[in-house]
């Protein structure tokens, strides 16, 4: 867990940990995601960017079944996501998610927020769950706030707690849905630092974000989505310096 190798390449052999095959999704009549194909290897870090309405949040929310897809397959760690509730629960225990608006539980203390999952899902004894929680709180450098309530913390602190809360379930994949978009500028760095540490320890990450500095530093692949399709994918170097498609160029010119 404290192994600090930098930028170790993802394994290209072996079964991908996430496979999305020919996936389509509709909201009513609106075709929001069209023919998505994606393979994510273990320890890979992927950043997804694109204009609003492009479907990038919808895509990652399909991966932990917060949204349902209507056609195609999504396979996480060998388990296919269908209407089977047992599979959904298994997948959700393996996949952690960090939300734009943190979504900490306001009626529980920080440490209770973190221990909730392990106690009730993994049936961990309370003491052990709290020990693990404290360890993760120290990791995100917020251990002294353990007994406080979310309402007493700043946005950046809350988001770090949210990351720790997902880590307590020992997920194999972490999904990030615009984790810094709701933060004041001075708090963005503290959250990105935690995410960089996580990446350096080898966590598989899918991050929807506009933080291009983060992408350049940490990503193995950058995906550009527009109008429900993956328009371009490449390694960060080539993606930013040599975008292949017109739409990608247009988007990059607007945000950089």
């Amino acid at each position: 867990m404290t192994d600090k190798t930098i930028q170790h390449p993802p394994s290209t052999t072996g079964r991908p940990i996430i496979e999305v095959i020919g996936m389509h999704k509709w909201y009513g009549d609106f075709h929001v995601l069209a023919d998505i194909n994606l393979k994510v290897q273990e320890k890979e870090r992927i950043v997804i960017c694109g204009p609003s309405g492009s479907g990038k949040s919808t895509l990652i929310r399909c991966i932990n079944r917060l949204e349902e897809h209507q056609r195609g397959q999504i396979i996480v760690d060998g388990i296919e996501l269908t209407n089977d509730i047992k599979n959904i629960e298994k997948v959700r225990a393996e996949v952690g998610m960090v939300f734009q608006h943190f979504n900490l539980f306001p009626h529980l203390t920080i440490i209770e927020n973190l221990a909730l999952g392990p106690i009730w899902v993994r049936k961990t004894p309370k003491k052990k769950a709290e020990e693990t929680a404290m360890m993760y709180l120290e990791k995100v450098k917020i251990a002294e706030q353990a007994k406080k309530y979310p309402g007493q913390l700043s946005g950046g602190q809350q988001q770090r707690v949210a990351i720790a809360r997902s880590l307590c379930m020992s997920p194999r994949v972490m999904l990030f849905d615009e984790p810094t978009s709701a933060l004041d500028p001075e708090m963005i760095k503290e959250v990105l630092d935690v995410m960089i540490d996580l990446a350096e320890e080898g966590m598989t990450m899918l991050v929807v974000s506009h933080e291009m500095g983060f992408a350049k530093r940490v990503a193995d692949r950058v995906l550009f989505m527009d109008e429900g399709q993956i328009v371009e994918e490449n390694n960060p170097h080539d993606f930013f310096d040599n975008p292949q498609h017109e739409r990608t160029r247009l988007f990059l010119s607007q945000i950089l």
Binding site: V95, G117, V121
Partner: protein
């Protein structure tokens, strides 16, 4: 040296003068009303004071929880009325909460039919005055149900007629008290079991089916006592004697109509409160809970309900208070609640002031205790923020 401010421009002094004037005005008016009242009472030879409470009342009360006859005092009559108010309010609150929660949740159902039907119930029941609903149910009893001689008999021992609902009850037996004690003992065991199970969960992570075991115990222990006493099954069955039933217990049409009207009316408001409370918990909370792997039941128990209850309980207690206040409408359909009895007392003794004052005092007790409870609850449950 700062010049002294003339006192009529000094805000502090003006405030004092203003208050003195206001108080003089209020007390002045009160004094005028008071002296007028005294003069009028004297003129009409109406007594004052609460001495009348010890006089014989001379009227009967339709139904009462305690023993009462027309030879008893006014004080006892009023007590019987107050107990009737408490009885209908207590049962009404329990039934309203159950029905209201059920309909509130149904309103949020993903099943379109169920959700629409609850919406119709809510809209209809909220928009029709409660008094009209009371008259309606009361009329149903008198017009739709037959006389005792032709009473409906849907189940053995259960009769429905225009004198009310009459049903058989187990005959009084020595076994009953021990059975109640066994039930209370089972409840105590249940509580102890819950505490032990929580400690075990904290230590080992293993859960225990406390609810199922507790429920089983509360049914099993009294049943064992019942068996030990030789399984007494003697029933006090109502039988038709002449024009009416004797035996069993009866629920009068007045009580039933009052209860039905109050429960249907108030549960519509409770349903809206429950719905609003559950919807107040943002979708993000539910999603966060689901993404750490909690199952829907667990999400409800640990994340949604604690937050929803904070939003639900304060307006819910207001509705409970409204139900209690609305029970005063009993006078319109002849149920002997406190207001009804007080009204008869006023008519007979002429002591309107004392009578109305008593009515207001009783209801003020209810509302003040509810306020105190709400304040305590809000303080305790407030979400801690910066």
């Amino acid at each position: 040296m700062p010049s002294a401010v003339p006192f009529w421009r000094d805000p502090a002094k003006r405030a004092i003068v203003f208050q003195i004037v206001a108080l003089l005005l209020v007390f002045g008016i009160a004094y005028i009303l008071f002296s007028n009242t005294q003069a009028n009472l004297q003129r009409q030879s109406i007594a004052t004071g609460f001495g009348f409470l010890q006089n014989e009342s001379g009227f009967e009360i339709g139904e009462s929880v305690i023993e009462y006859s027309s030879a008893d005092t006014y004080g006892r009559a009023l007590l019987a009325g107050a107990l009737n108010t408490l009885k209908v309010s207590f049962i009404g609150i329990i039934l309203t909460t159950i029905l209201g929660v059920f309909i509130g949740i149904a309103r949020l159902s993903r099943n379109w039919l169920v959700s629409r039907l609850s919406a119709v119930f809510i809209e209809v029941m909220q928009n029709i005055p409660v008094l009209l609903q009371l008259f309606f149910w009361y009329a149903i009893f008198y017009e739709a149900f037959p006389s005792p001689r032709q009473a409906l008999n849907p189940l053995p021992g259960l009769f429905l007629c225009n004198r009310g609902l009459i049903m058989a009850v187990p005959e009084s037996h020595a076994a009953h008290l021990p059975m109640i004690m066994a039930f209370l003992a089972a409840l105590a065991l249940w509580w102890g079991l819950a505490r032990w199970a929580k400690r075990r969960l904290d230590l080992t992570g293993l859960s225990f089916p406390v609810v199922r075991v507790g429920l089983g115990l509360s049914l099993l222990l009294p049943a064992l006592v019942w068996l030990a006493y030789g399984s007494p099954i003697a029933l006090d069955v109502p039988s038709l004697q002449g024009f009416n039933f004797t035996g069993g217990i009866s629920v009068t049409p007045e009580f039933s109509a009052l209860l039905l009207g109050l429960v249907f009316y108030t549960s519509a408001f409770v349903a809206e409160i429950v719905r609003a409370g559950i919807q107040a918990v943002t979708r993000g909370q539910v999603e966060a809970a689901m993404s750490i792997g909690l199952r829907p039941g667990q999400v409800l128990q640990h994340v949604v309900m604690p937050q929803a209850l904070r939003v639900i309980i304060p307006p819910l207690t207001s509705q409970m208070l409204n139900l209690t206040k609305n029970s005063s409408l009993a006078i319109a359909i002849g149920f002997a609640d406190f207001v009804s009895v007080a009204n008869t007392t006023i008519n007979q003794t002429g002591q309107a002031i004392e009578g109305v004052a008593l009515i207001m005092a009783v209801y003020l007790c209810f509302s003040l205790s509810t306020s105190v409870f709400m304040n305590w609850y809000n303080k305790r449950m407030a979400l801690v923020e910066r």
